[in-house]
């Protein structure tokens, strides 16, 4: 398995879930910008599951040397790389913040995804799982820079799914909704709408096995987003969402 964004709690929970379910991987490639935290996870899965892994540093904000991961090959790619950034008014007019959100969630991420997608395509097998967001379903004033980057990522995954369909590669888009993770710690989230990383991993694993195309982590989010998508624009623009 190849994991992009290996410090993500959802990614780690998914790796554990897959190993618990008895999935076999010759090696797990853990891509990360934070070597220390990821090496701890690598040791953890070695102790717990006797699973070999390799930590590979990658910084989406810098030039990427693809030669470093030429040897990386697997049948599952799990992409949890993402960056929430600052959605407030100050964040909106801070170009560094804006660029970082767009780069990490979309523009710098997609070429890396493509690098691996090409390998999957030539093998004619495998699954690509991308963590997008319900924020990408419709732009809302509270975090639309992040939302727009995720909307682009959702569109990319949908196109990729279409492109890889007859090449026997499956693409799963996951839209997690609120999650209780590092990214959202301290934010006032409704507990009924918030999934733990473990819940998310269980749901994603199920969707992966069933070869689903799009999965909301908590089913209620499917309904919420259907409503939000269908509010007429002349009303929506007046809402404080």
């Amino acid at each position: 398995m190849i994991v992009l964004g290996s410090t993500s709690e959802v990614a780690q929970a998914f790796v554990e879930k897959a190993l618990q379910e008895g999935e076999k991987f010759e090696r797990i490639y853990l891509f990360t910008s934070s070597r220390e935290t990821t090496e701890r996870f690598a040791r953890h899965i070695d102790v717990k599951f006797l699973q070999q892994s390799e930590v590979i540093e990658i910084d989406l904000m810098k030039e990427i040397d693809y030669n470093k991961f030429d040897h990386v090959s697997s049948n599952v790619l799990f992409c949890a790389a993402g960056y929430l950034g600052d959605g407030t008014e100050e964040g909106l007019y801070d170009n560094r913040n804006t660029e970082k959100i767009i780069n990490i969630n979309y523009s710098k991420l997609v070429p890396v995804m493509n690098f691996f997608a090409q390998k999957f395509e030539s093998r004619r097998s495998g699954t690509i799982i991308g963590l997008s967001s319900v924020a990408g379903d419709r732009g809302r004033q509270s975090n639309f820079i992040y939302g727009s980057a995720k909307a682009a990522f959702t569109a990319y995954l949908s196109g990729l799914r279409n492109y890889l369909f007859d090449k026997k590669v499956h693409v799963l888009t996951v839209k997690p909704g609120f999650m209780a993770t590092k990214m959202t710690e301290g934010l006032p989230l409704n507990p009924k709408l918030t999934a733990t990383p473990k819940q998310a991993a269980d749901c994603i694993y199920k969707a992966f096995k069933k070869q689903k195309n799009v999965a909301y982590v908590l089913p209620v989010w499917g309904i919420i987003m259907m409503i939000i998508r269908n509010i007429p624009e002349f009303i929506f623009k007046k809402l404080k969402l």
Binding site: S34, T37, H44, V47, K48, T88, N143, K182, E185, P188
Partner: protein, 439 residues
């Protein structure tokens, strides 16, 4: 949305509830920043202690310190971060033929919490407390430095931290020994006792058993006072097991996990329902003595089988009252305690009696000492404080003390027994309450 780390926090008894800042980090660097930037910090594991023990002005949750570091499968030595739960340890160790030397009645506590609370189990008389098997741990002290603590290195901090209720710092990682087992099953004998005399006799007769514990019906009076069932057990050897279990002795079948979906309304638990429950529990076993093989989960963690069982006590919550009374005074003390409870009508759904063995004098903050210990659950209501006062009187009179991990309203003369705790940084609401009541 700006982060606001203030939230409602409560321990397993759902009493008391506080609104405080709680944070969790997984990098030691960030934990240091957190410690240095706050005046009062207390570490908290999985929140399975009762009362106000792991609550403070700012709470550091070790939930994200949940990784294993190493497992020496030859010698049974495991190292992990402090937020790893005992259930996680068992998940990987049992199939390899290893078990925890000491486990409390729930497996959902963190390894760090096991040290801070210096937990004991059904084998205290035979194998002591959790710390006996801890070889070393890493502790973050109030200056944000990380020190290694063991019997040889920083041994003063090592012993102060054991049973120290988190008041010496934040435990980051722990290394400890596991015990060899041949199977995941326990050879159990359960024996009914008519009254207090009989149960005390049974305890003393069972001294050679590794695990002993008694469930006690605390609403009985007169000649039935102390009616109970003693359970004693040993890890089963593979050759002892019946054929159907011997094939895969280290694997348990998956069971259904019922959940308590919501807080029960207040009237559900009352003297009558507790009485009926206890009667059914006692009568379920029709023979005087039953021998059986049961899986370790049923033997050690019967309540873990019901997720969120604490909600049975309703929104006002419950307390767990656990005391120890010196052995020589044990029978008389227990008699008075049980009489007081029976007279109050404030029955305990769950009452567990145990005989503690000798304590380890080096682990001076450890709760257990040689004597009898009784743990009782009481629903929080307007009459409870009065009952606790009466029970505290008896415990004091017989020279006993209260387990800090479960304390929330006992008098400070029974709970102020920690030594060598000097930090002004690591402070819990419980510690403040005890100190303030004492002065």
């Amino acid at each position: 949305m700006k982060p606001n780390f203030t939230q409602k926090v409560t321990n397993w008894g759902n009493f008391p509830v506080v609104e405080k800042e709680m944070r969790s980090e997984d990098s030691f660097k960030k934990i240091k920043e957190f410690v240095l930037s706050h005046n009062e910090v207390i570490a908290r594991g999985n929140g399975r202690c009762y009362g106000d023990a792991s609550l403070g002005e700012t709470i550091f949750s070790t939930k994200k310190l949940n990784k294993f570091i190493s497992f020496d499968r030859l010698n049974g030595i495991i190292e992990c971060e402090s937020g790893v739960l005992l259930s996680d340890v068992l998940e990987i160790s049992v199939p390899q033929g290893y078990f925890l030397y000491v486990t409390p009645g729930t497996k959902f506590i963190s390894v760090g919490g096991a040290i801070a609370s210096e937990v004991h189990g059904k084998n205290h008389h035979a194998e002591g407390c959790f710390s006996e098997y801890v070889t070393e741990f890493k502790l973050m002290t109030e200056d944000g430095n990380i020190i290694i603590c063991s019997r040889e290195e920083n041994s003063d901090k090592f012993w102060a931290t054991i049973g120290g209720m988190g008041l010496t710092g934040i435990i980051l990682t722990v290394k400890f020994k596991l015990k060899n087992i041949q199977s995941a099953y326990i050879r159990q004998e359960s024996i009914k006792a008519e009254n207090l005399d009989e149960i005390f006799r049974l305890f003393e007769e069972s001294e050679n058993w590794t695990y002993t514990v008694a469930w006690i019906d605390c609403l009985q009076k007169g000649k039935n006072l102390g009616r109970s069932i003693l359970m004693r057990g040993e890890h089963a050897f593979q050759h002892e097991l019946p054929q159907n279990l011997a094939k895969q002795p280290l694997r348990l079948k998956k069971k259904l996990q019922p959940t308590v979906p919501f807080y029960f309304p207040g009237f559900v638990l009352n003297a009558l329902t507790v009485k009926i429950f206890n009667l059914l529990y006692y009568k379920k076993q029709t023979k005087k003595e039953v021998k059986s093989f049961i899986d370790y989960e049923t033997f050690f963690y019967p309540l873990d089988a019901i997720t969120d069982w604490n909600k049975i006590y309703g929104k006002s919550g419950f307390i767990q009252y656990q005391m120890v009374i010196p052995k020589e005074a044990g029978k008389e003390g227990m008699k008075q305690i049980l009489e007081t409870i029976a007279a109050s009508g404030n029955g305990s759904f769950l009452a567990v009696l145990k005989l503690f063995g000798k304590n380890n004098p080096e682990a001076y903050n450890s709760f257990p000492f040689e004597g009898y210990t009784l743990a009782l659950d009481f629903k929080v209501n307007s009459k409870l404080k009065k009952l606790v006062d009466k029970l505290d009187d008896i415990v004091q009179q017989f020279g006993g003390r209260i387990y800090l991990t479960k304390d929330s309203m006992s008098r400070s003369s029974l709970t102020n027994y920690l030594k060598n705790i000097q930090s002004s940084k690591f402070v819990s609401l419980q510690h403040k309450r005890i100190i303030n009541n004492n002065s």
